[in-house]
């Protein structure tokens, strides 16, 4: 009852302010009149009675005020009054308001956007039950880097390990579905039957894979993704158990995955089938079962950690050779990597994301400093106003409250604008994101992020609001009142100077980081890829159907396609290759060199199966010997091979490699191949990775026909426009063959640096923001200082200082601030560059050109922002100033 009364009465006062005020003043007035009447009744004259009554009542306004303040609603009323006042004040100073809100919006928006993007990738757990228990497991390659595992390694570990609830292996699968229209190639995965159990996801329809089907020559079964099921099969509820044709084979659909299933290991995969490798014959090493080409994952048993699991796996592979025979490339002598799947999928992007997160934190910090500075400057300008209010009876707490309300108002408006920036920012981030960025689909401005944004908004409001509030109330208010004459130079200038120095220092850190990344990217693109990327069109062609199981038919198809493509107008040259530079392919074989003492060393080399004309089409130079020609397409006892320069240099040490013999593909029974030529190095993995050794063979002479090959086409004009005609040319040979990944070599070059470019764009944006904010900060402080020192400047010029003297004086003040900031920032930049080291290329993290350039730029910008206040100071007319006293 009473609570209800409290609420309703209070609300009535709030909503009917005027009626409530009138009622109260009526009551007070009534009280007064009753009192007068009583005094008159006691025999006083009306005048005396009135005076006596007034004396008793005291100040009627004060009485009304006292009653009003007692209600809870007064807190709100005051708040609204403060808010109204604050708004009015903001509208009166639009420049200050816009700059503050923009600063906050940029700071909060950028932070929220980056947090939105980074959160699902680095911090949120993967979308699986007990995702922390899912591990990625890697073997080591002989040269020390992590490598995929071999099937037999997996099988042995799966059979003997007790640390894992389930382990699974997977490799990519690109099946083709031919329909009436064009052939469509899908992304999918070959998986062991345990794959979905490791992830902890069960099918939405049908059943999971049956382990007994996962054997050599087992039944063809396929699992569909929810989107594929809906897109290609119209969400047919009877799909389970039906057969579909993939790659000219019938597959039975066993299940459909749930709609929200996110497959972080292969985000684009839409169907899954069983690996069906041969578990027997562990001792014969020349099989695909012993190739290190499978990605392995495992789900830990509860209570087991990754270290224990790693120790157990490493103990297993110490088994005697008879018990567990294994080839040299899967010796497991270096143990295994067992790390969380989360770390596994984010490994490549983590340094960049953390750097970006660090950068955006700096931006937020600068934004806060800048806003503090702006509020401080405004607080100084308003000290007279606050003095007046204090004199009229406003308490210190009341003034603090007023200022806090105003800064919260700014922060909230800034926060709302920041949310807008965040929404746009997240969209831009997703659009700009490099292809390696995992979990891109999970990035959105979500509730968590909104909460984060709101929390920082409020915190900034309070933090920033407090400083000027304390300042204003600490000051001697009488001095504030007297300051109409601007006799005093307030001490808060020192605080503001410290803030500006901080801003400059932070901006320098960001500018140096952005500069280092920019120079890295320049260096990277200056790297010669080893071929001529201009006017080069690439696309992947795959054979489909059992009629191509025959090698001769397969080779004939590629040869005929090449003829057809060469006949397309605008094509100047064309060739096929089994792997394309910078496409992500990594087809590595062991190459055995014939040596004098008959000790055969094996080296890892990239194996390229190419058609004659490949080097001419790509523009890869011949260093010595000869290239492949039209004769190198028939089977010969000793195959001619070409090697690249780095192979020649590292393995033949000055000897002429031409005529030397090597063997590739590991089949000891085969005769030696003979080196007939040396060609220039080509960047295969990425521009940043220095060249590894490579061996080229003629595709037609290889051990088997490569069913998937890259077509490279040198065009006379714009390569993109020729793509449809070239595709048609291939289809004129056989219309059922999928042609995918059409693009230009230039695009592949750009994509190979996408991650660096992504980081660079963000750093550039942040650094630019920081620079602008720092410039605004310097301008603000100097301009405030000049205003406050107008009288002093007037006196100086009256005493003979020339405008030039005064200009230099103000400029020097600004430049000194910048210089101090630069000095502090340099230390920060050197420290920050350490975090960037992984993303730099071709330059030192202490690259003097970057540092000097950034310092020069910062000093230049600061000089520009000093110029206006300095110029204004120089024009101060001593007569006017002194007269104003």
């Amino acid at each position: 009852m009473s609570f209800f009364r409290q609420l309703t009465r209070g609300l009535r006062v709030l909503t009917h302010r005027r009626a409530a005020d009138r009622e109260l003043s009526d009551e007070v007035q009534d009280y007064l009149e009753q009192s007068i009447a009583a005094h008159v009744a006691n025999g006083l004259t009306p005048d005396e009675a009135r005076r006596a009554a007034r004396m008793e009542l005291g100040n009627a306004t004060a009485v009304r005020e006292q009653v009003r303040e007692a209600g809870w609603e007064n807190v709100f009323a005051t708040f609204f009054a403060d808010l109204r006042y604050g708004l009015r004040h903001m509208l009166r100073t639009p420049g200050f308001t816009i700059v503050t809100i923009l600063t906050l919006a940029l700071g909060i928006g950028a932070t929220t956007a980056i947090f939105s993007a980074v959160n699902p990738i680095l911090f949120a757990s993967l979308p699986y039950p007990h995702a922390g228990r899912i591990m990625g497991i890697w073997d080591f390659a002989p040269y020390g880097s992590r490598s995929h595992v071999a099937f037999h390694t997996y099988r042995e570990l799966a059979a003997r390990s007790h640390s894992f609830n389930a382990v699974a292996v997977t490799k990519p699968w690109q099946p083709t579905l031919v329909s009436a229209a064009e052939p469509e190639r899908f992304d999918g995965q070959f998986v062991s039957a345990s794959y979905f159990r490791v992830l902890g996801v069960t099918p939405f329809m049908g059943r999971d894979f049956d382990p007994s089907d996962d054997r050599l020559k087992g039944p063809n079964v396929v699992m569909l993704s929810n989107t594929l099921w809906k897109r290609r099969f119209g969400g047919d509820p009877t799909i389970v158990g039906r057969q579909i044709t993939l790659d000219d084979n019938l597959y039975t659909v066993v299940g459909v995955m749930p709609a929200g299933f996110e497959n972080v290991l292969a985000p684009t995969a839409e169907l899954w089938t069983l690996l069906q490798y041969d578990s027997a014959n562990i001792a014969s090493f020349q099989t695909r079962e012993w190739g290190n080409h499978l990605r392995m994952v495992g789900r830990l048993e509860p209570g087991v950690n990754s270290d224990q699991a790693k120790k157990e796996l490493e103990a297993i592979v110490l088994a005697p050779m008879q018990e567990f025979p294994r080839p040299p490339w899967a010796s497991h002598r270096q143990g295994f990597v067992v790390n969380s799947l989360q770390d596994d999928v984010t490994r490549g992007v983590k340094p960049a994301l953390l750097a970006v997160l660090g950068a955006v934190t700096l931006v937020l910090l600068i934004a806060c400093v800048n806003v503090t500075n702006l509020l401080l400057a405004r607080g100084a300008q308003r000290s007279a106003e606050f003095g007046m209010r204090a004199a009229l009876g406003a308490g210190r707490l009341r003034l603090i409250r007023q200022l806090l309300t105003e800064s919260l108002l700014l922060a909230v408006i800034g926060g709302v604008a920041g949310m807008g920036v965040a929404v746009l920012g997240v969209r831009a981030l997703v659009a700009l994101s490099p292809p390696e960025l995992p979990r891109i689909g999970a990035i959105s401005v979500n509730g968590t992020v909104f909460g984060f944004g709101l929390a920082i908004t409020t915190l900034i409001g309070l933090a920033v609001g407090l400083i000027p509030a304390l300042h204003s109330s600490k000051e001697d208010l009488h001095a504030g009142l007297q300051q109409g004459s601007r006799r005093t130079v307030a001490g808060h200038q020192s605080t503001r100077k410290i803030l500006v120095v901080t801003e400059v220092a932070l901006a320098l850190v960001l500018l140096v980081s952005a500069g280092l990344l920019l120079r890295s990217l320049e260096r990277l693109f200056a790297v010669v890829p080893g071929f001529d990327a201009a006017n080069l069109l690439t696309m992947q062609v795959q054979t489909y159907g059992h009629r191509y199981d025959d090698d001769a038919t397969c080779n004939r198809f590629f040869a005929q396609s090449l003829e057809a493509v060469r006949a397309v107008p605008g094509v100047s040259d064309a060739a096929f290759t089994s792997q394309l530079p910078l496409s992500g392919d990594a087809d590595v074989y062991g190459a055995e060199l014939e040596t004098a003492n008959n000790v055969h060393e094996t080296h890892d080399v990239f194996r390229y199966g190419v058609s004659p004309g490949y080097f001419e089409t790509m523009g890869i130079p011949l260093r010595s010997g000869r290239l492949f020609d039209a004769h190198d397409v028939t089977a010969v006892p000793m195959r001619p091979v070409l090697i690249n320069e780095s192979f020649a240099k590292s393995k033949f040490q000055g000897r002429d490699p031409i005529g030397q013999r090597l063997r590739i593909g590991g089949q000891v029974s085969r005769p030696w191949d003979i080196i007939v030529g040396v060609v220039g190095d080509v960047k295969q993995t990425s521009l940043a990775v220095s060249q590894s050794d490579a061996v080229y063979v003629s595709t037609a002479q290889w051990l088997w026909a490569d069913g998937t090959q890259w077509l490279v086409v040198r065009t006379r004009g714009d390569p993109t426009s020729l793509a449809p005609a070239i595709r048609q040319a291939i289809w004129s040979v056989d219309k059922d063959q999928p042609v995918v990944h059409a693009g230009t070599m230039k695009e592949l070059l750009a994509a190979s640096a996408a991650e660096r470019r992504f980081a660079l764009i963000l750093f550039e944006a942040f650094a630019l923001t920081a620079l602008l904010l720092a410039a605004a900060g310097i301008y603000g402080v100097l301009s405030g200082s000049v205003t406050e020192r107008t009288r002093e400047i007037g006196v100086r010029s009256a005493l003979g200082a020339t405008p030039a003297n005064i200009l230099v004086m103000v400029l020097r003040q600004g430049i000194t601030l910048t210089a101090v900031g630069v000095a502090i920032g340099l230390a920060g930049a050197v420290a920050a560059s350490q975090a960037l080291a992984a993303m730099l290329f071709g330059i030192s993290r202490l690259d003097p050109v970057t540092y000097l350039g950034v310092i020069a730029m910062l000093l230049g910008v600061s000089a520009m922002s000093c110029w206006v206040p300095a110029w204004r100071a120089a024009r101060v007319d001593p007569a006017t100033t002194l007269r104003a006293e």
Binding site: S2, R5, Q6, E27, Q34
Partner: protein, 111 residues
């Protein structure tokens, strides 16, 4: 300026108002004058505190108020005690009596 000797004892104003109103509904000035008269001028009520107390007591549900004609044909805000107000008065009176007698006992022994 308030004279300490004639100010209402801290915390007793609510009880005095409730007591005064337990006899009959009254307007603000009437209550103030009644308290002064009955206390024989010992207590002088500050109008600001009085009006604030009215608002507080009314919101607590102990008083009701309405604008009514006074004897001399003027409108005034009359306050009356609610049922809850009566109960509260009893509570406060008991409490007060207990305290006063305790203080009185203490003073006797000390004296």
């Amino acid at each position: 300026m308030p004279e300490p000797s004639t100010d209402v004892i801290q915390g007793t104003l609510d009880m005095l108002i409730l007591k005064t109103l337990s006899l009959e509904p009254m307007h603000g000035f009437g209550i103030a004058r009644r308290i002064e008269q009955i206390s024989r001028g010992v207590f002088k009520v500050n109008p600001g505190s009085l009006l604030t107390a009215f608002q507080r007591l009314e919101r607590a549900g102990w008083l009701n108020s309405e604008w009514r004609q006074t004897n001399n044909a003027r409108r005034a805000k009359f306050y009356s005690l609610t049922r809850a107000g009566h109960k509260q008065l009893e509570l406060e009176t008991d409490d007060w009596t207990r305290r006063v007698s305790a203080v009185a006992r203490l003073l006797r022994t000390e004296g």
